[in-house]
Amino acid sequence: MAKMSMIQSLNSAMDNMMERDPNVLVFGEDAGYFGGVFRVTAGLQDKYGLDRCFDAPINEAAIMAMSIGMAAKGLKPVAEIQFSDYIFPGLDQIVSEMSRLRYRTAGQFTSPVVVRTPCGGGIRGGQTHSMSPEAFFTQIPGVQVVMPSNPYDAKGLLIAAIESEDPVIFFEPKRLYNGPFDGDPGKALETWSKHEKGEVPEEHFSLPIGKANIVREGNDLTIVTYGTLVHVAQAAAEAEGIDAEIIDLRTLVPYDIETIARSVNKTGRCIVAQEAPRTSGFAAELAAQIQEECFYALEKPIFRLTGWDTPYPHAHEWSYFPGLKRFSTAIRETLEA
């Protein structure tokens, strides 16, 4: 085991896979020589050569299309979209092409591309560097959607994504790149070095796509969330002194309904939380499915804690972000008799 940040663990995942499989290629805007604006691909070009890790032109649609063509020929492209806010020029290639190639060719061609992209706010990124656009991608039959919340999971899931036979949109909560975040922007930055999930094997390992992780077992209520908010939920539960069960979804498509339903049937109370805007967010899907599965166990309406239906603001970032205060309100309301 080694101490790793999420940047290092993601890098280590690609390193392991590039070493194992000559068909794994890594590319994106600034991802080659420089190693990416967040340094996630640092050193890979040096180690594996120009044709294994290279810079791509600033054209997300072309990056997606190139990946699809390469995957159709049997390579394993791992494409970086520099910020998930920039993924939209590539959306047609993802929605109409990458996701459907297996289906529309009845399996004659497939497109198992991994699209890595940093998401989420809390870094003073303003409206074009803070989005959480994951819900868009959960509406696309044929792609899997993954979002880890710590270095250990990030590595295991990225390796699983690269080994998957189907495309994966892999969201990396950039606020967590260098350390966990409990939702208090006033505190000094923590690093992953003291966190148990900052212990990551240097060798190859994978975590199953589609399997949630119960980060804290409890009986009072269930909090279902993913990404940055996993850590905020833990801090809020602790601050409120409640025995919460906290589920880190890890995979949004296909999400682990079994783990969620078992928990909510046990606690009878549930908060679903996301950083993205409220309307038609992934929390809405979770709330709908949970009430189908757990209606008779529910003591209170499912609480949907989300960002606001506004673009991600710059100056008012912390009024947008579903932080500790809003988590506490959600917990109190959900626990009321």
Binding site: K73, Q93, A106
Partner: protein, 409 residues
């Protein structure tokens, strides 16, 4: 239409329904005039070829000039057969669509040389990223006609399990990629595929096709950027058939420009060729394939042609272009031109031609009868309903399993 002067420029064709077809404004350079540089030439140095028009067959049906690929009569007859087969198939399928046998059809009439000659100039192992009007490639590569029809009528033997509109063929075994239906998406994908082939150390060339209107898509730019940046072994064909459904090519090309010239801006070798000239299409494709195989990078080829039929069975050109324009196209009909060339060579005659047409017509009718024995869209049998939930992912997750059960299959 309002007679006021538009406040900004909106291009429009000079002739509309009710007008007499007239192509006298087109500048058609004589056959044999274009120079043929070595396929290793720097892309930028093909500017004259991007502005001109590579033509081999002249008005006396002779093959002339440096671009003459000097093909054996046997190869020419084979090309003629594939083009006639394409035409016979298209005509039959169009009629069957009119009879309600399939939901939709798209003919390639007038553009048979663009597909057939290119396919014949490539190796069968070369990869094809087609648009929806290159069915000629399938005939040139020996695709089973019954299988093609089974796809078009979405029956139990459709190799795409009824998931695609008619004519959106896929044939992996024949190195024929899937046809999207969303325009131009295949163009940059083809570049990625070509790069992957190179990465794997293969000598395979990848070729893709789009239409004139589709060059307006961002993916056209993406494809050309990728192709020039990575010097990919790819052939990027723009089939300028003058019409994007009802929209004339002037809405995409820009005043006075050619589609081939767009390639020059990216530093790519770019050729503008007579797309109704079997020999010109063959020679240009052969040139571009050699260039790609020898590691000199990509070529943009604009095939100048005319869409003689409607865009699809849902379209009626009498609403937007003069009646009979296809008869007046100054570069003629690709089948007639190759036929006349063969006759001129003493390698063909009217009698054999008529016989071949009759043979292919009979073949197509018999093939359809066989295809129908595997079911039709209306009366079945189709692919089993549960197959609707297959191939979304390699394995069905709980959502798809449950949804399949909800449907009761």
């Amino acid at each position: 239409m309002s007679q006021t002067t538009p406040r900004f420029h909106v291009p429009a064709p000079s002739l509309r329904p009710g007008d007499k077809p007239d192509f006298s404004h087109l500048v058609i350079p004589p056959a044999g005039e274009a120079k043929r540089p070595d396929p290793s030439v720097e892309g930028m140095k093909t500017q004259d070829l991007a502005l001109g028009l590579v033509r081999v067959l002249d008005h006396n049906h002779q093959a002339v000039g440096e671009w003459d690929p000097k093909l054996d009569a046997g190869v020419l007859r084979e090309g003629l057969r594939h083009m006639l087969m394409t035409r016979a198939y298209d005509d039959r399928m169009q009629k069957l669509q009119r009879q309600g046998k399939m939901s939709f059809y798209m003919k390639s009439t007038g553009e048979e040389a663009v597909a057939v000659a290119a396919a014949m100039a490539l190796e069968n192992s070369d990869m094809i990223f087609p648009s929806y009007r290159q069915q000629g490639i399938l005939f040139a590569r020996g695709r089973d006609v019954v299988e093609m029809m089974c796809h078009c009528i979405s029956n139990s033997r459709d190799n795409l399990k009824g998931r695609q509109l008619p004519v959106h063929y896929t044939w992996a075994e024949g190195n024929f990629f899937s046809i999207s239906g969303n325009l131009t998406t295949q163009f940059p994908q083809a570049v990625g595929y070509a790069m992957a082939a190179q990465y794997k150390g293969e000598k395979q060339v990848t070729a893709s096709w789009i239409g004139d209107g589709s060059t307006a898509e961002g993916d056209f730019h993406g494809a050309l950027v990728l192709a020039s940046t990575y010097k990919a072994p790819v052939i990027l064909n723009v089939v300028n058939n003058q019409w994007a459904i009802s929209t004339f090519q002037g809405v995409a090309v820009g005043e006075g420009a050619t589609f081939a010239m767009k390639g020059i801006g990216y530093g790519l070798a770019s050729l503008r060729i007579d797309g109704n000239d079997f020999l010109a299409v063959y020679a240009a494709t052969q040139w571009a394939a050699q260039r790609a195989r020898d590691g000199h990078g990509a070529t943009v080829i604009e095939s100048y042609t005319y869409r003689a039929g409607p865009h699809s069975t849902s379209d009626d050109p009498s609403g937007y272009r003069p009646k009979g324009e296809e008869e007046e196209w100054p570069l003629g009909d690709p089948v007639e031109r190759l036929k006349n060339h063969l006759i001129n060579l003493g390698e063909w005659d009217e009698e054999r031609h008529t016989e071949l047409e009759a043979e292919l017509k009979t073949l197509v009718i018999a093939a359809y009868k066989e295809a129908e024995s595997h079911g039709t869209l209306h009366d079945g049998p189709l692919s089993p309903v549960e197959s609707m939930f297959e191939d979304v992912y390699a394995e069905q997750d709980w959502r798809l399993r449950r949804q399949r059960q909800d449907l009761g299959v």
